[in-house]
Symmetry: C2
Amino acid sequence: MTRRHNRTRAERGIPEATVARLPVYLRALHSLQERGVATVSSEELATAAGVNSAKLRKDLSHLGSYGTRGVGYEVEYLVYQISRELGLTQDWVVAIIGVGNLGRALAGYGGFASRGFRVAALLDADESVVGERISGLTVRHIDDLESVVAEQGVSIAVLATPAAAAQSLCDRVVAAGVTSVLNFAPVVLSVPEGVDVRKVDLSIELQILAFHEQRKAGGPGEGGWAGELDGPGDRPRGEGPPGTKQYIEAVEA
Amino acid sequence: MTRRHNRTRAERGIPEATVARLPVYLRALHSLQERGVATVSSEELATAAGVNSAKLRKDLSHLGSYGTRGVGYEVEYLVYQISRELGLTQDWVVAIIGVGNLGRALAGYGGFASRGFRVAALLDADESVVGERISGLTVRHIDDLESVVAEQGVSIAVLATPAAAAQSLCDRVVAAGVTSVLNFAPVVLSVPEGVDVRKVDLSIELQILAFHEQRKAGGPGEGGWAGELDGPGDRPRGEGPPGTKQYIEAVEA
DNA sequence: CCATGTGAACTAATTCACAGCG
DNA sequence: CGCTGTGAATTAGTTCACATGG
């Protein structure tokens, strides 16, 4: 919040929206780097990252003044600066909790190893998967969670468990000292101050798409304005507007 | 922006931030419903959804006036209204493109079927998986993409392919008439006006966590302010500050 | 009397537009 | 001259706080 030195810039506090875009810029830069491009303008990089150039420049300006006026940005240098800002110049030890379909997919995901993330452990409660070897790691029993976290120095836990198990496992990893959690289970996790949680939720994404899809087709419901004037009083109870699937009964997965 | 009728509320145009939270509220409501709760206050629901109550009320107010002052919201009714707003009172036909680890995990994900999303097809380019049966569906060859989209009336495509294939497959599904894409490949997709794309990106999420994790440990880089005073001129070229992993060489996954 | 619904105040994020530097 | 970097203007989102109505 308050400045605590004479920091020339960056000044402790990059906007969250900017932080969320830095990885995108970084990926675009890597791709340029592979193609042997040495220098890039804000316009070009912005296009590659799918944003407009003003936003890109403003974002980068939060890190410092790393461009050259009249020229652009040196790709390699910018890659380094963004990597450093994101904390990718050091390794982060990751544990994946839950080795179902998703956990396996994550364990095999190349993107982990490539950028400073080292998967050090796979854990599961199911005896029948414990001991199995996946992507070079032996699945360990969830009882070992605390010792694994301590021994390996895990700082990021990836939760790929059923919803019902997520909160209590989250509590355990946090108690064991993990301060960042990436949650794939469809639940809202509560964690103490100082612990960061990020959520990846397929079904939420689909529902957002459905909203826009419906809108393209014209208004909510089937015929557009079912229930328009219903103040409390003429509420549909137990049935939707004619022709619609009624309510939603299925259980959460 | 300007009102264009005497619409009592909703007024065409729910803020994007609100849309993104509606699925969370919906999930919390379903969970209350399962526990037999009939009525809920904004305070309770907000807690369950992990937001504050003012935000929840403001969000719901964009849909209409569905609460009762002094009492709260009727769970069942609110479930219905949010579902309708999100377009979940109708079925959406989904095709999953790419049947690797991730595609399989997605195909088996219960959250699909449960809320108005019907996976109608699995497609892959790899001959060795074509014909395989997964979660009740036979994997079809990617050559059939256009006909599958047309026959099944697919409106949402889920891309779970390698990065290199994503854009051209995206082009194909869009050309075939799909107007919503959920992209798991680590690339920025470009699509024509009117097509919605949402991105789920593991490695971005991890990088955001790393940023905050690093911050907890105190400042970027190892020793805090490597390159502090470097205006252009004394840039590190080809090496990072002492002791840091240098640059990032690995390829994108 | 209590919890919703909402103007008003505030904070964050985006976009504009141009000064200024290489 | 061409591009970055950035104040200023705008727009979006959040939070406050309370009038309102069941």
